[in-house]
């Protein structure tokens, strides 16, 4: 018997004002996959991703984790995912180190926190309150979670926003290492990523389904 895929998205749909936001989505995410959700602005990429993190409840369809419905293994699933959204949850009045400490698992040591901040280029900024950091640095604080997290599945919504070229390259390498180690990544971005094992899923907006002009 073959093992079920890590995550199965089955006809997942979400209605807002009685309209489907996007065409019901079906695809699998296997260990070792990088899945890029692609689509026009407003097509519903973020909505689909939030459905997959179970922050949103789908109107119809199902989300399966290792072949089981998400509601049967919710805590196990939440324990194995990491989500960084547009609003990354970085607290402005806390320092970079305090933010990362807060967002990392309890078992992470302070040496690992320092290493993670060094790795995202925030050496020397660890003790500064985040309101004095730049937009790119905020994103780096959030992305430092990728170094401390034990989660197998990463959901990254526009992770390359306001990150400089070197930072983007480092992030791409990190994604590749993560999937080589048996993890999986689901991300949205408008960039073309030169990554091995990248698969694209096109999110078709509801308006695309209508009558063509």
């Amino acid at each position: 018997m073959s093992t079920p895929p890590l995550i199965t998205v089955e006809q997942l749909a979400f209605e807002r004002d009685d309209c489907n936001v996007f065409k019901p989505a079906s695809f699998n995410v296997e260990a070792g996959d990088i899945v890029q959700l692609e689509g026009a602005n407003g097509a519903g990429k973020t909505t689909l991703m939030r459905l997959m993190t179970s922050a949103l409840q789908p109107t119809s369809g199902a989300l399966l984790y290792k072949g089981r419905p998400i509601n049967d293994c919710r805590y196990e699933y939440l324990d194995s995912i990491l989500y960084i959204g547009h609003q990354s949850g970085v607290k402005m009045t806390l320092s970079a180190e305090e933010n990362l400490r807060w967002m990392s698992p309890a078992s992470v040591s302070s040496a690992e926190i320092t290493q993670a901040l060094d790795a995202v280029g925030l050496r020397g900024f660890a003790d500064m309150p985040c309101y004095s950091l730049s937009a790119g640095q905020h994103r780096r604080v959030a992305l430092a979670r990728l170094h401390t997290s034990k989660a197998a599945v990463w959901y990254l919504d526009e992770p390359f926003t306001s990150i400089d070229k070197q930072g983007a390259l480092a992030l791409q390498q990190q994604l590749e290492i993560h999937v080589q180690q048996g993890g999986a990544v689901v991300l949205t971005t408008h960039q073309n990523l030169p990554l091995d094992g990248l698969r694209k899923y096109i999110v078709e907006s509801h308006t695309d389904l209508g009558v063509q002009p």
Binding site: G85, V90, E98
Partner: protein, 226 residues
């Protein structure tokens, strides 16, 4: 230092630290409470007999308004910066994390109000036998107000101008608290047994601790589902 373990203790510690970093903002309900109290003798009458009669009710109304003032922001910043979404998908019991936030909120609003209330009582000529019941009833009562207010704050968190709606939602629920809170103080001033109304407040607090976090967890899931 914040512990990475989230849950009840984690949110309690984090929110206390956040409150400490925004001391000025967090102190505003307390300052409101003290400032308005200084206006009462000017607006009504400096006559101590008349003030003493009104004091239990006035202090309670002001404490209620001061708590309401601070309730709106309970989930607002977490909602704006995405922390609330992280809370919803954290593998912890949502109701317990929420309770941690509320306890932190009470420690920085209700508790300071309770601590300064004897001072306000003296300013408004509240008889000395009313001071202990005032503190006891405010300690229990403001905790109820924080819990009930948090339900309203959770329901209105996604609205840009949710303040008015929040007041309309929670003030009816605040009514029993203020009735029994000021009744306890009034009873003590009148030389009656004030433990009865206080016990009712205690019962309300027990019910609120048990039920409000569940209601808030439900409200937060509902509100984020759009």
């Amino acid at each position: 230092m914040i512990a990475g373990s989230q849950g009840f203790a984690g949110y309690l510690r984090r929110d206390l630290l956040l409150a400490y970093r925004r001391r000025g903002e967090v102190a505003s309900p307390l300052i409101f409470f003290v400032l308005v109290s200084t206006l009462i003798p000017l607006g009504i009458s400096p006559d101590s007999a008349r003030l003493a009669e009104l004091a239990p009710g006035i202090i309670w109304v002001m404490a209620l308004l001061a708590t309401l003032l601070s309730t709106e922001t309970l989930f607002a910043s977490d909602y704006q910066d995405g922390s609330l979404e992280q809370l919803l998908i954290s593998p912890q019991l949502l109701a317990l994390s929420v309770l941690g936030k509320i306890v932190a909120h009470w420690l920085v609003t209700g508790l300071p109000l309770t601590m300064v209330s004897p001072l306000i009582g003296v300013m408004l000529s509240l008889p000395a036998e009313g001071l202990l019941p005032l503190m006891a009833s405010l300690a229990l009562g403001t905790a109820c107000l924080s819990l009930i207010g948090a339900v309203g704050a959770a329901l209105t968190v996604s609205l840009r101008k949710g303040g008015l709606l929040l007041s309309v939602l929670v003030i009816p629920l605040y009514m029993p608290v203020i009735i029994f809170g000021s009744a306890a103080v009034q009873a003590a001033v009148d030389g009656l047994n004030w433990l009865g109304p206080l016990a009712v407040l205690g019962a309300m607090l027990s019910a609120a601790v048990a039920l409000c976090p569940l209601a808030i967890a439900g409200a937060l899931r509902l509100v984020s589902n759009n």
